[in-house]
């Protein structure tokens, strides 16, 4: 077994700290974008007003499209302004958001260096304990966010997603610090690469949909207030698409994440059979993985059940994510079980 490169391991930890700091700056930039871009909001509003008048003309031409139809298309009623539903980039200059994205790219590069140097230092995949799972998971969240940004304007998610990445890196550095080391025999298996990498990606996707579901609830609340003629709160939500399009986007991502989670569960079962002699034994970690699977299965079914779409489905998505967080933190640290590889002494 080749020796651990401890110097490189220390550099890795430094990279992670630097990345966390850069993410913090990006987070502040994204918050600044949401909080102070009244100019952006005004220009979005004028554009929406223009589009809505155009749409009314079209609707008139379309020989009486039903009232519900036009309401849905125009973002749940003419009285609530929201960002473009297709989440495509528009011409508005959002300086703060641009700064946020630029810094996020730099942070992600430093973060990547941190994760890769950890892998080189340890001569193995960098997800053998909670510190490594958090840092690698945070990187996947940031990279997926940046990848989505190339196709869709989801900068409104920036403060939430990058905020969660900052929390993940701080949790790793403060909560679960673990110097680089070899793996214990129980983890020395190629299933570690398969099982945990898919789990990291699924968790990262659940993180993104969690952010979207929270925004969906806020937006739905705002839309309801606007319909009831109450004064508007949380003006930054004007930069956010309508609750309905958030729900649809979250659903698409959750569907992918659910398949990956199913695979995580299966690969975990196969590995459990190899390592412990049974593919399913209701170990605490297995219980919670199963609970998460069932909750998200419920979410997928809820989307097809009358009275359960929209807000209730969003709550299920949020509950599912809370279970993911619970499974990762509380179960790993406080529950005894076969998955006790947190690295925490």
């Amino acid at each position: 077994m080749p020796s651990i490169d401890e110097t490189l391991g220390q550099y890795s930890e430094l990279f992670i700290l630097l990345a966390a700091m850069a993410y913090t700056v990006a987070f502040i930039a994204f918050c600044w974008d949401l909080a102070t871009s009244s100019k952006t909001i005004r220009s979005v509003e004028s554009r929406l007003a223009r589009e809505q008048s155009e749409q009314k003309v079209l609707a008139g031409a379309g020989a009486g499209a039903s009232a519900t139809g036009s309401a849905g298309k125009a973002g749940a009623g003419a009285s609530v302004e929201t960002a473009d539903e297709a989440m495509v980039y528009t011409k508005e200059r959002r300086v703060a958001a641009r700064i946020g994205v630029a810094i996020t790219i730099v942070a992600a590069l430093v973060h990547t260096a941190g994760v890769i140097s950890r892998a080189i230092a340890a001569h193995r995949v960098p997800w053998g304990n909670m510190y490594e799972f958090c840092t690698t998971g945070g990187l996947v969240v940031a990279v997926v966010f940046l990848l989505v940004l190339t196709r869709k304007d989801v900068r409104f998610l920036g403060s939430f997603v990058i905020g969660l990445v900052v929390i993940m890196l701080c949790a790793a550095a403060i909560g679960f610090p673990t110097p680089v080391a070899h793996l214990v025999p129980a983890l020395q298996s190629y299933w570690l690469i398969i099982h945990v990498s898919i789990a990291v990606i699924a968790s990262a996707l659940f993180t993104l949909t969690f952010a979207m579901s929270v925004l969906q609830l806020l937006q739905a609340n705002r839309e309801a207030r606007a319909r009831a003629g109450q004064p508007e709160r949380m003006g930054f939500l004007r930069l956010v698409p309508s609750a309905l399009s958030l729900e649809n986007f979250a659903y698409r991502v959750n569907a992918i994440a659910f398949v990956l989670w199913t695979f995580t569960l299966m690969a975990g079962a196969i590995w459990a059979e190899k390592a412990w002699g049974r593919y399913w034994g209701w170990d605490t970690k297995e219980v919670w993985t199963f609970v998460i699977w069932v909750v998200y299965a419920g979410y997928l079914h809820a989307r097809a059940t009358r009275g359960w779409t929209g807000t209730r489905a969003a709550w299920l998505s949020i509950v599912g994510y809370l279970c993911v967080v619970f499974n990762f933190t509380i179960v790993n640290v406080f529950f005894s079980g076969l998955h006790s590889y947190s690295g925490i002494q």
Partner: protein
């Protein structure tokens, strides 16, 4: 924007019956597309409430219960209930995994423990209530999958539904006008469209070719529903496989000390849990002997010094008493297959070799005694029972440290997992070990209720520690203890699960079916052609998704591109002229 059940695509009054029903409203569309039950069931809650129970009669009531059970709402409720019901199993110790911890919990909580036990909270996953939830869920699933499979079978054998009168009402709509000089007639246009759609994987039907408005009906994505059905049926398959494993499998534990061996017979096991239909003759009489067990600890790292890096057991195995012996290695994550079972390395530890002489001077016990490690430094608890000692039976309880370091307070702690300074720390007892009644006793627990401590008040002669090869004379002529040597042992799980292959096959099928049902788009396309008064051929098309399909818009754009390539590509100049004529895409 047709990907959601909420899409407010209200049916036009003149819409054709079949697609119209699917679009009948949020619930209708959703249930038809993704729901378990036939669409009607969830759609008419008011009708259900209006029916007075007495009018239903016995059969009617059963039917009503069945309808309720197989409704999507109930399935969703049962799913969420299942998630909640699984949680207590992670909060309370479970008998199948940790029987000893449950016993300890009951001892520690004499008030609440029995109540928790009454509600089966220590056997959650075999409890009446947990089983009830998942069995109801699976009945609900079957009650939904069967009618849906029948429905889908019919749908797959039928032609695409009638072309709606107003294609512009569909979620996606496009149209184009072909100048008369292109010589594309309405008949050839629908034929071309049918050919193109067929090449794209659609099932097509050309209708009304003799009329003024010929059209093509096309449908694709039948695999979506097949995937959905395969997924749900596979879940039943997984459940059945688990049941088969529970009925016909068996599982046992065995500790083997270096140099000792094991034969696969019932008496050979330390612990054995047979399935309900297990027969003793299922056991193949193979044998294995532990030749050596090698452990590698991390000696380089500052932060993880002493962490285990490798466990390797070398075993000599014989498939049957007559077979040739064979040497094999067993590691964590690398189980051994032998005689229809899989052998797993699940634990290891030290077995100090002791010699105990009784009060009469005879050797009452000689050999390795298994100690149970409690931490990374292999600080191990140890119990020695000497039933053969005369005149008094002897018992010892204490611990073993592979590398003992005495602190300034005189308390010894283990500092390393390798045996650099092995020491035994024991407390001696004498009297009746309670083994003669024949009740099964835990070999790792010494019941001191019928024993007398060798230490008495001020006198601590019963507490002693032994280094390697040291001896200790017990007080009052009770005998002596010698620490002769040290061996390692391995803890093995031996397992036979005939349901395992089935579970793997069905869960693989499940994930394939799940992906198909979530990522394949089931779509219908209608293309209609007509001739304008000025001689141009007008083509229009509409698309409709069944279920979630975020790519419907892209499909419409792709069709437009295909049609343009087919009819307009050769006519660059014409195409330029016609760009303006190409219909504005309806919002």
């Amino acid at each position: 924007m047709s990907e959601t059940p909420k899409t407010p695509e209200t049916p036009a009054s003149d819409a054709p019956p079949t697609p119209g029903r699917e679009q009948a409203g949020p619930a209708g569309k959703a249930d038809a597309a993704r729901g378990w039950g036939p669409a009607k069931k969830d759609k008419m809650p008011s009708a259900k409430n209006d029916v007075a129970l007495p009018a239903l009669g016995f059969v009617g009531t059963l039917r009503w219960i069945w309808t309720q059970l197989t409704s999507m709402r109930t399935a969703l409720f049962l799913l969420l209930l299942l998630a909640v019901a699984a949680v207590p199993g992670s909060l309370f110790p479970q008998r199948p995994a940790n029987p000893a911890v449950v016993t300890q919990y009951l001892t520690d909580n004499p008030e609440t423990g029995p109540w928790l036990d009454r509600f089966q909270l220590f056997d959650v996953y075999s409890s009446v209530w947990f089983s009830a939830i998942y069995l109801l869920l699976f009945i609900s699933l079957i009650g939904c999958v069967v009618p849906r499979a029948v429905q889908h079978w019919k749908a797959m054998r039928s032609q695409p539904p009638r072309t709606p009168r107003r294609l512009s009402r569909l979620p996606e709509y496009g149209s184009m006008a072909l100048p008369s000089n292109l010589e594309v007639t309405r008949e050839s246009a629908v034929d071309d469209a049918a050919r193109l759609l067929k090449r794209r994987g659609y099932r097509v039907e050309v209708r009304g070719k003799d009329g003024a408005m010929p059209s093509v009906g096309a449908e694709r994505g039948f695999l979506k529903e097949i995937g959905n059905l395969v997924f749900h049926v596979s879940l039943i398959g997984v459940l059945v496989s688990v049941a088969v494993g529970g009925l016909f499998g068996y599982r046992g534990q065995k500790i083997i000390v270096e140099g000792e061996s094991f034969v696969n017979t019932l008496v050979g096991y330390d612990n054995f849990s047979p399935g309900s239909n297990f027969h003793e003759d299922q056991l193949e009489p193979y044998s294995m002997q532990l030749d050596s067990f090698d452990v590698v600890f991390d000696r380089e790292s500052d932060t993880h010094y002493g962490q285990p890096l490798d466990f390797t057991a070398v075993l000599t195995t014989k498939e049957s008493p007559e077979a040739e012996p064979e040497q094999q290695t067993l590691k964590v994550n690398e189980p051994l297959s032998i005689g229809g079972t899989s052998v797993y390395l699940v634990g290891n530890g030290y077995a100090p070799v002791v010699t105990i002489r009784d009060g009469d001077g005879n050797i009452a016990l000689q050999g390795p005694v298994v100690s149970v490690p409690n931490d990374g430094a292999y600080t191990s608890t140890m119990v020695v029972k000497v039933p053969d000692a005369q005149p008094e039976q002897l018992g010892f309880v204490g611990f073993f440290l592979p590398t003992a370091v005495e602190g300034s307070d005189g308390v010894a702690v283990g500092s390393d997992p390798d045996p650099f300074n092995p020491r035994l720390y024991l407390n001696g007892y004498y009297g009746d070990l309670g083994l003669d009644e024949g009740d099964p006793k835990n070999v790792y627990v010494l019941d001191t209720s019928t024993l007398t401590s060798m230490s008495d008040g001020e006198d601590e002669a019963g507490e002693f520690s032994l280094g390697a090869y040291e001896s200790y004379e017990l007080p009052n002529g009770l005998g002596s203890v010698t620490f002769d040597g040290l061996k390692r042992y391995v803890a093995l799980d031996i397992d036979h699960d005939p349901g395992q292959a089935g579970a793997l096959v069905f869960s693989t099928l499940a994930i394939i079916g799940l992906s198909a049902s979530l990522f394949i788009g089931r779509r219908r396309v209608w293309v209609r052609a007509g001739t304008h008064e000025d001689g141009r051929t007008m083509v229009e098309w509409g698309l409709l998704a069944r279920g979630e399909d975020p790519r419907l818009e892209g499909e419409s754009a792709a069709l437009r591109k295909l049609f343009e390539k087919e009819w307009l590509a050769n006519q660059d100049q014409q195409a330029d002229n016609n760009k303006s004529a190409v219909g504005v895409k309806n919002s």
